[in-house]
């Protein structure tokens, strides 16, 4: 449509300018975010960086990633970082100890490394036939049970990666919970925030459900949907709910176990007839994938919410009364 107004060459040139502007902005924001001594500023810049990255994903025709980056990379990570900054006074930030390398040597090394890696990347691209797995993945799409190719890779071709990835999420959240109880003190929210929460909460939940459902055919899926629900939990926590809307501790344990348990049950169930682990029968693939994704969504939402709380909510300790 714009093409009708502007000459083709101009469109090409505009794309090029846009690409270079994005690249320069990305590098500048990244350098500013990690270079500042003021952590508050660094985190703000990092969140802006994440949103810009989401834009780049959209530019590179990766809408699934754009959604995930905005929701998880910038959204959840940003919330976690800000929560950490709130809990830790800047003076009390633990330091891991810097190496005593002279700065010029480090800079020289960085430049050399960048040149070497860039050269290797160009060589790799120039030397490869550029085929890779794309054609294979797209050609098998009709056997995968879904029509969104990214979902097909995530939950069918390479479902085992995703299975273990849920293990990573579980490991991280168990690690967080093992560290100690969550902070109980909550500040009640004012009327404006409360009404915003009342507006956003149903929207986030509906959006989460929509992303889960649409993931089979269009950008979306369990992870983006889980991040939406986690965002709802973060909002609730900000609004003064100490448990961020999560069910009791027993419910939380079940939610955390759910994702992997359903995944494993489906994987084993389909292999009883002599097939391989995770080899879904063709007619059932779509339904089974949706089932797995629903469980994964709930698990991820619960895990991210617990990570935001930063420790065990009431009821996790054996002998503790549940709730409270």
């Amino acid at each position: 449509m714009i093409d009708s107004l502007i000459d083709k060459d101009w469109v090409e040139a505009l794309w090029l300018i846009l690409d270079f502007a994005l690249a320069v902005l990305l590098l500048g924001l990244a350098a500013a975010a990690v270079g500042t001594r003021d952590l508050r500023r660094g985190i703000a810049l990092f969140i802006a960086f994440g949103l810009l990255v989401a834009l780049v994903w959209a530019r590179l025709r990766a809408p699934d990633l754009a959604l995930a980056e905005a929701a998880i990379g910038a959204g959840v990570s940003g919330a976690l970082l800000l929560a950490a900054l709130r809990d830790v006074p800047p003076s009390g930030l633990p330091s891991v100890g810097a190496r005593g390398l002279p700065l010029w040597l480090l800079n020289l090394g960085s430049v050399t490394l960048a040149v070497l890696l860039g050269w290797a990347l160009l060589l790799a691209l120039a030397g490869s036939d550029g085929i890779r797995l794309a054609d294979l993945a797209l050609a098998n799409l009709e056997h995968s049970g879904v029509s969104n190719p990214v979902t097909a890779v995530l939950l069918n071709y390479r479902a085992y990666d995703t299975f273990l990835e849920l293990g990573v999420v579980l490991a991280a959240v168990l690690g967080v919970l093992a560290l100690g109880p969550a902070r109980r003190s909550v500040r009640p929210a004012g009327p404006v925030l409360n009404s915003l929460i009342r507006l956003l909460l149903p929207l986030l939940i509906v959006t989460g459900g929509y992303l889960l459902w649409i993931g089979a055919t269009a950008p979306g899926g369990a992870f983006q949907a889980g991040a939406m629900l986690a965002a709802a939990a973060v909002l609730l926590r900000l609004g003064g709910d100490a448990t961020a809307g999560l069910p009791g501790a027993v419910g939380q344990r079940w939610l955390l176990a759910l994702g992997i348990a359903v995944f494993a049950a489906v994987g084993l169930g389909v292999s009883t007839g002599g097939g391989a682990f995770l080899a879904y029968p063709h007619d059932w693939a779509g339904v089974l994938i949706l089932l797995i994704e629903a469980a994964a969504m709930l698990m991820i939402a619960c895990a991210l919410a617990l990570a935001y709380l930063g420790g065990r909510p009431a009821g996790w300790t054996i002998g503790d009364r549940e709730g409270g």
Binding site: A30, A62, S77, L93, G97, N107, V153, T162, E165, V168
Partner: protein, 98 residues
């Protein structure tokens, strides 16, 4: 002849090196966690550039899926690291041996 969008791949390498350098220089744990996330995003950018095949060809879904996995892994690691950072100042030291 390489396509122009390779600029994103090289930007990814640049982000990786910026993050790596900062992770070595920065002393504060929180700043290091930021730097590691930036470096990781750089790698993801290289991956997604590999997947891009022009305006009108369907992109390679495999790197997209790998990056999605990578994003979730990164946020999990970040969550654990930040929980440690939040917990450390309140944790008393031991009796001082070693």
């Amino acid at each position: 002849m390489l396509p122009e969008y390779i600029v994103f791949g090289l930007t990814g390498i640049g982000l990786f090196v910026i993050g790596l350098r900062a992770a070595l220089v920065q002393a504060a744990a929180l700043a290091r966690i930021l730097a590691i996330n930036v470096a990781g995003t750089g790698i993801f950018l290289v991956f997604v550039t590999l997947a891009y095949r022009g305006h009108d060809a369907a992109p390679d879904p495999v790197p997209h899926a790998l990056v999605l996995t990578g994003i979730v892994v990164a946020v999990s690691a970040t969550a654990l690291a930040l929980a440690l950072v939040r917990r450390l100042p309140a944790t008393p030291g031991e009796d001082g041996d070693d």
